[in-house]
Amino acid sequence: MHIHRYERLWMMFGIAMLIVFMGAILIAAFVDNLNPPSDTQAIDPTKVASTPPFDHPGLRQKPDGTYEVYYVAQVFSFTPQTITVPVGKKVDFYVTSPDVVHGFEVAETDVNMMVVPGWVNETSHTFKKPGTYLIVCNEYCGIGHQNMAARIEVK
């Protein structure tokens, strides 16, 4: 099959561009460990309230000085509602749902994950600027979905 010379050049350009894009993403994933939340830990969605550590959701300081926080996302609120963390300390976020699918997004950061009943999801973030951050549910969960929010105070 004959392929026009310009078309061949165009395709080479297109494929080269895709390879550069993918290369950048794969280097970020394998060298800088920049991966989206992909926790594969299962949890019985009907027993979230009695399954540790989600039976006591909230913020904890770890022995190394960093933080971890366990959230329960359920219609139409997050528990805990407000946490206070210091600037520059890594925070590990864990979240699950006892009812329907929710989203967990800290606006204007890369903290963004799906909350699926039956699974725990996790991500980490180090806040660099002080302020009040808004957590919103970004997956439709029912009639009160637009009210499902929480706050993080970074000091």
Binding site: I3, H4, Y6, E7, W10, M11, G14, I15, L18, F21, M22, I25, L26, A28, A29, L34, N35, P36, P37, S38, T40, Q41, A42, I43, D44, P45, T46, V75, D99, V100, V101, G103, E105, A107, E108, D110, N112, M113, M114, V116, P117, G118, W119, N121, E122, T132, Y133, L134, V136, C137, N138, E139, Y140, C141, G142, I143, H145, Q146, A149, R151
Partner: protein, 545 residues
């Protein structure tokens, strides 16, 4: 000739049924859309008996599923019948398909309007709608399979009666689109196998992870079903508006085969941020997703080359002369042409969304909504609306009424879509979530920065709504005005006479379909096995609206 015309009229009635059902769907969907825009911008308050999430579900289902599907079934039937001549063509399968699609749509739509299925068009379990919603959606999809079988039957007729002759390019494109669609819809039919008994109360719970993976196995190729519908028009109908040719018959077939192969094994890129799916599967699907950009690069080249060759024959040279000599005042061409411009935006936005790492910044923000409005709402819908202005006279034998109104309709859609979509993209980068009735969030400073863009998006949405009213006026006006004069003949673009034959290997679309099925299996066998090997906790159904 008279006898022939009777035959044409008999077949046309079927296509008219599809195209005007699509028209009804886009009109209803536009009403829901404009209300949503103003409600989200806090300019109006919707009554509780017609709340935001109900009309959001209605808008999504009518636009993304009903309008697009009925248009593509109608277009593909038209393209196939007009290119494969056949006396006394059996139309039973075609009509059965249309009736099933209509009944399924009606069941789902009534359930949504009653408020028993405010689950949005993705119907993520464990949100539990009335069983009528799931059963209706299943009947709609099975109806499209019946339409597909009718197209295949016509291909077999061609092969039997025209031994050794190549299948006409438009038919090849349409049938390849439906083979892809059947492979893709296997996923949603499998999901319904779990959802229907569960919604009827026969099973206690649902494996949410599995249902979501089956949904997205279908959800992404759905996007390519729309795009292939637009490509059928770009390759084989649009060139007739500027006396152009198909740039290359072989490369067009290759493009459709690549779309058939690569549309399905990519769905997990919609699930990058999900628990329960290992990072490796996400990376695999990301690589495949970048692969499916290649046939779109091929298309971009082929379309521009076709423009340049045709304009070159008129003595036009260079980029500006070529671009400005195209028939931009023809609503059929303008629909496709402005659609292509929007697709440049949509295509590059898509590369961002497909990125395994950048998706974290935009996932489930209103950026995504902006993105699919410059893909399905841009190149696809605008090409279809333009194409309707070409098909309707050829289906009804009537002159298109008010072609100037048709042209301004297309222009208004383009401007409205740019205003709405760019506002949505920008608000998404500021973190505004999608699918919310309101973005106030008790006056937090971040959410305050989103409000102006919601208003701007509503203004764009209003322009789109007016544009749809104009479209409906032309479509109905052509029927009511009943101005005879146009003939029924539909011409399709062909490759230039000096072009080479396409290799025989491209002819076997059903065999390529088998290869596509194997690729889909390979892409999903791992992640689905992983899910099935987990405890598989079942979630009870819930009605949270």
């Amino acid at each position: 000739m008279a006898e022939n015309l009777t035959m044409v009229r008999r077949e046309n009635r079927l296509v008219i049924a599809h195209i005007y059902t699509a028209t009804a769907a886009i009109c209803l969907g536009a009403i829901a859309g404009v209300l949503q825009g103003f409600s989200r911008a806090s300019a109006i308050t919707l009554p509780t008996w017609f709340d935001y999430y109900r009309i959001l579900t209605l808008h999504g289902v009518l636009m993304a599923i009903v309008f697009t599907t009925f248009f593509i079934t109608g277009l593909s039937t038209f393209v196939t019948y007009r290119n494969i001549e056949r006396n006394d063509r059996p139309l039973a399968l075609g009509w059965l398909g249309w009736w099933m699609m209509l009944i399924g749509t009606a069941m789902a739509a009534v359930t949504i309007i009653k408020g028993d299925a405010s689950v949005l068009y993705t119907f993520y379990a464990p949100l539990k709608a009335s069983p009528f919603f799931y059963i209706g959606a299943t009947i709609l999809i099975l109806g499209t399979w019946v339409v597909a079988f009718d197209l295949y039957a016509n291909v077999f007729y061609w092969r039997k009666t025209r031994k050794g002759e190549k299948i006409p390019l438009p038919v090849f494109a349409a049938v390849t689109t439906f083979i892809m669609w059947q492979i893709a819809t296997l996923g949603v039919v499998a999901e319904m196998y779990y959802l229907i008994p569960w919604s009827l109360g026969w099973t206690k719970g649902i494996d949410v992870g599995l249902s979501r993976m089956l949904f997205w196995y279908f959800g992404h190729p759905l996007v390519y079903f729309w795009i292939m519908g637009a490509y059928i028009i770009w390759y084989t109908i649009v060139p007739t508006r500027y006396n152009g040719n198909v740039f290359s018959d072989a490369l067009t077939r290759l493009t459709f085969i690549m779309l058939l192969l690569l549309s399905t094994p990519v769905g997990i890129h919609h699930q990058f941020l999900e628990p329960g799916i290992a990072a490796g599967w996400k990376i695999l699907h990301m690589v495949n997703t970048y692969g499916v950009a290649i046939p779109s690069f091929l298309t971009a080249f082929a379309i521009f080359a076709s423009f340049e060759l045709a304009m070159g024959k008129l003595g036009k040279k260079g980029f500006w002369q070529t671009a400005t000599s195209l028939p931009w005042k023809d609503p059929v061409f303008a629909g496709a042409g402005y659609g292509m411009l929007l697709f440049i935006l949509g295509g590059f936005g898509g590369l961002v969304n497909a990125s395994y790492s950048m998706d974290m910044l935009v996932h489930n923000t209103i950026w995504i909504v902006g993105h699919f409005h410059v893909t399905v709402g841009g190149p696809v819908a605008l090409t279809f609306l333009g194409c309707a202005y070409w098909m309707i006279p050829r289906l009804t034998g009537r002159t298109l009424w008010a072609p100037q109104l048709a042209l301004w309709q297309v222009r208004m859609w383009f401007v409205g879509m740019l205003v709405m979509s760019l506002s949505m993209h920008y608000a998404g980068l500021l973190g505004a979530p999608r699918r919310t009735a309101d973005v106030a969030y008790a006056g937090m400073s971040q959410s305050m920065s989103w409000e102006p863009y919601m208003l701007l998006a509503a203004v764009g949405g209003f322009l789109l709504f007016v544009s749809i009213l104009m479209f409906a006026t032309v479509a109905l006006g052509t029927l009511l005005k009943n101005e005879k004069g146009e003939n029924f003949k539909a011409e399709f673009a062909v490759a230039a006479p000096e072009a080479q034959e396409s290799p025989a290997i491209f002819e076997h679309m059903f065999r390529w379909g088998a290869v596509a099925l194997v690729l889909a299996f390979l892409a999903y066998v791992g992640p689905i096995t992983d899910i099935l090997h987990h405890p598989g906790y079942l979630a009870p159904g819930m009605r949270t609206w």
